[in-house]
Symmetry: D3
Subunit: 136 residues, 6 copies
């Protein structure tokens, strides 16, 4: 009986899309207004999904209080009200697209969560653009 | 051509998290305010997902009118405006966590739905906490 | 330049509709399944709206950090994961309908907020049933 | 590192459920009010999901500007403010159930998107009825 | 203590925008794709808002069960899965814009609801286009 | 018969809260993490509400196509994917709180809309923080 439990979180951040091995002109050409050097920003919604057996004693796959605290400390407090390009070390050299942010979040959470549990993250950059990464 | 059809339903219920083989102190320690002996409650949202071939005559995987009626009679009328611990027999001895509720709902629906169709249920305890069970 | 600022909060609680001057039969007749003596519950969403002049120094009608803290301490911590009838003193003798809960919340907040600011509260009992009270 | 990117779109359309090899009486019996010969309609929400490797230069699985334009031209402009039965050629002989619409949309998009990328479409007929098709 | 109680409902319908005193060309010019003679459609969401004193015996401004039944019988059953232009008599000669639909709904409900209660209706044609009418 | 018509729009932008007549220390003290000199950002949702008589020929208070174009050109194209402090001239000396942004938007739209029509704007900075300004 494997069940997936999901916890929704959010953070508000500034970013720009930028490959720092390219010229500004090429960045502007490929990323359009998303490459604006003055940044823009989003209310990111994050869903962290953990799949595993139900513990028969607690009825939990994973204690949501623990997962909520983990997301708050390792993701929300690191990303919220930040400039992702300037203030989150993973994006010093990695373009903060929704795809790359989801991979960074997955990597930050993966070794904090029991290896018997599968992990997936879904990141909404806007209500109309969102991505999912499960380590696969 | 296998398609998944999904139907959303809801019910409002009281519950508490409680393992009746534990002392009250241990319940309070593990489940925190969710163990409140006076209960709290939720607006549960339920998504029932059924996967199978499209019937070429109707264009349906399953008639949504039938699925809607099944959910209403077997789930909503059993759970809505109830105290899950006190009034739903499955939870007399089973802790009504979202995980366990999703398994109980899946079991109640599984033998009412054609065995050629796959079944999955997603249960939202709140908009930020939700679980999925597909029998796996 | 009067602007309304709104802050959304939520709490999960159990309740039943019950007039304790009536017989159980009359309560059941008037309130139907909402009178269930074992309680049911809701995820309540609360919007607190404060109207006033913009402070030219801060650009704020009211500091949202202050309003957020006020709602958390005076409403969420009092109501969340509680049984409203049994554990919130205002409802010992007052039927916890959405209408009455909104009035109780308004009264609890009114004397904590500057009298030059107008106050309104909107309470969602479910996404389809909600009420607004502005002291009028 | 395979990531799924999702883009939400929408269109408003009229339709009726109707198998044109059946009598009107049988259509009415099977499809109920959905068979109304004068049509009814929906605000359809569409989520197009594309799965593949992240391009290390762009950080994209697929440029969302390209996907957005493809959905607009091939789906929204073909379906929006149309009568699906009367004005979309695929439904001249195919019953426009949500299941069949999702298959038609998937087929229209499949050969416009790189074959190394997996494709799935989710179509909301209403917020409570929705379907997913991934070509499987 | 005047409180507003709100009840959300919905119906799915086809319509076209059309002034039958104008030529087809002028209708097409003014209403664009909304004048499509084959119709298009929407999932309409309706919020009915009733304002009045709280009854001290029930704690209700108006019994929501009564309001829900009134909306179902007088609005949903008249409009749902219908073609508004062809099948709702008020729109035989009145253009079914969101504005006019909201006035028609308000008029249908006004004399069914106690005159001591104020009435307002909000109609969502789409999540991005909506109107409010309060008889004023 | 005065009806309010509402149109929802959105833009994604970076900002920081900052009074440029204050020291950095005072800004940090008053605005907390919102004063981050590297900026953060939001998906802003905007609802523009226009109230007036229904034109009996069109059934419109105001043609939504005109309102949509006005919002797109005067608000979305000016604010979307911008840094509000650095790139929107009104905020060179005005702190871009939600309150002040709503006033700026109202002022930009007011003289583009018929003076017989009332105007109100609601701006969501996040789903939980939003403001309304009607010129009052």
């Amino acid at each position: 009986m494997r069940v997936t439990v999901n916890r929704k979180a959010h953070f508000n951040a500034a970013h720009r899309l930028y490959n720092n091995e390219w010229t500004d002109a090429r960045n502007a050409s490929v990323f359009g207004k998303c490459a604006n050097p003055n940044y823009h920003g989003h209310n990111y919604d994050l869903i962290v999904s953990v799949t595993g057996e139900i513990n028969p004693d607690t009825g939990f796959v994973m204690d949501m209080k623990v997962l909520k605290k983990l997301i708050r400390e390792d993701i929300e407090e690191q990303f919220d009200h930040k400039n992702l390009n300037e203030e989150v070390k993973e994006f010093k050299t990695l373009n903060p697209t929704a795809e790359n942010i989801s991979v960074v979040i997955w990597n930050k959470l993966r070794n904090k969560i029991d290896q018997n549990l599968d992990l997936s993250v879904t990141l909404y950059e806007t209500p109309r653009n969102f991505v999912t990464y499960n380590g696969g």
